[in-house]
Amino acid sequence: MKKLTFEEALARLEAVVRELEEGQLPLEKSLALFGEGITLTRFCHQELEKAEERISILTAGDKGEPVLRDYDPSLVDLLNSERKE
């Protein structure tokens, strides 16, 4: 199965909450939905905390092909000086 995106997880969580709030479900289904909701909440929290901060630079290589480099030191300097403000 394709990994859920934050957006999909959040949308599903909203749907689960709505369905539970409407309260027309049998108990077993409610509890199953609740379990799913808790899993989704946990996933969303994890996504929220995820930090992969990185700035890459995409430029043309020698033959004009795209080259993705991790960062340009001068750019990082620029950003760091900005951060001190």
């Binding site: 934050f6 959040l10 539970l20 309260g23 108990l27 969303c44 700035i55 630079i57 950003l79 951060r83």
Partner: protein
Amino acid sequence: MLRVFTVSELNGHIKNLLDNDPLLLNLWVKGEISNFKQAASGHLYFTLKDEFSTIKAVMFRSRGRRLLFTPEDGMSVRVRGYVSVYPRDGTYQLYVEEIEPEGTGALYLAFEQLKHRLEKEGLFAREHKKKLPLLPRRIGIITSPTGAVLRDMVRIIRRRWPGLQIVFVPVQVQGESAPREIARALYWLNRMDACDVIIVGRGGGSLEELWAFNTEVVARSIFASTIPVVSAVGHETDFTIADWVADVRAPTPSAAAEMVVPVREEMARYLGVLEGRLLRAVREKLQFYRARLDSCCRSRVFRFPVDILCGSRGQVVDDLYRRLTRAMEQYRQHQQSRLALLSGRLQALSPLATLARGYSICTRLDTGMVVRQAGEVKPGDRVKVELHRGRLSCKVEEAVMEQETD
């Protein structure tokens, strides 16, 4: 005797005259374009006219290529060029080197024309607009490596949601190479699937400086992008073709960063709200079921289970019980009356009745045996004589045996 010229000689002479006229060498002419057509060769042919007169005009391909806009019939223009003769046809015409639209600038006209054309083609259509992801993991930024635009965007992105990846593609945002570089950047980001959303833009500038964002190649690259594109060109009031083609137009680059990246704290808060609703909903659900269960437990069926469960069967039992007791009662009465009858007959047989008639019963006091013959007692024995009413205690004086008759 006049000299006889060939046609070629004549046309050559006229051409010579015109070509050497200083006025006709380089001049501006204003008029309205008609009969415009572009030949397969790429040369542009049209007629320039005013109210009273017309002149044929040609613009060679090498010149025409540089035109930003497309000349159209009815367009009021000023053209610069020279007048010369086309010897083959013996016609003179205007050799056009530049065309400027009358009134509006060439850039503006080109902008309007391209916009109109792309709009007709459907590049701005709402159904082609892609939704921005709620939370992009990687953000592609296409802009100039110099200037404050990138720096501002990175700062805003970091502030709103620390920890997001940025893929920066430095490009020229103005000048000859700008349109191609921007188009290539869009193509690269798509081909490498390098990000979830693209911001393409630059800071404010004149119409000329923003020109790259009004070119067809950039417009078509934005349209072709499968990754959602946010245009962020110039200031609030600057509108470019890129803005119309883009999935979302941001008024400024900073605004684009804000549109693309949610605020993490807000998202966390919202998630908390959802979590609370989830818990409350399930708690209410459980309470609802518990209440139902409780009311079941309190119900008559649990308190008087036999009544409710056996209901009709109980009635059958009751009925049978009634019938049983009735039958037993009848049986009892029947037996009782039989008993009365029997006891009446028994009465008749009772020795007590005989006694009433004057008989008495003598029993030995010591053994209680009934005395039937005198020989059963001897003088001195004590006997009891039972009378109809009362009894006698007696002592035997004499026992007289009776003679046997037979």
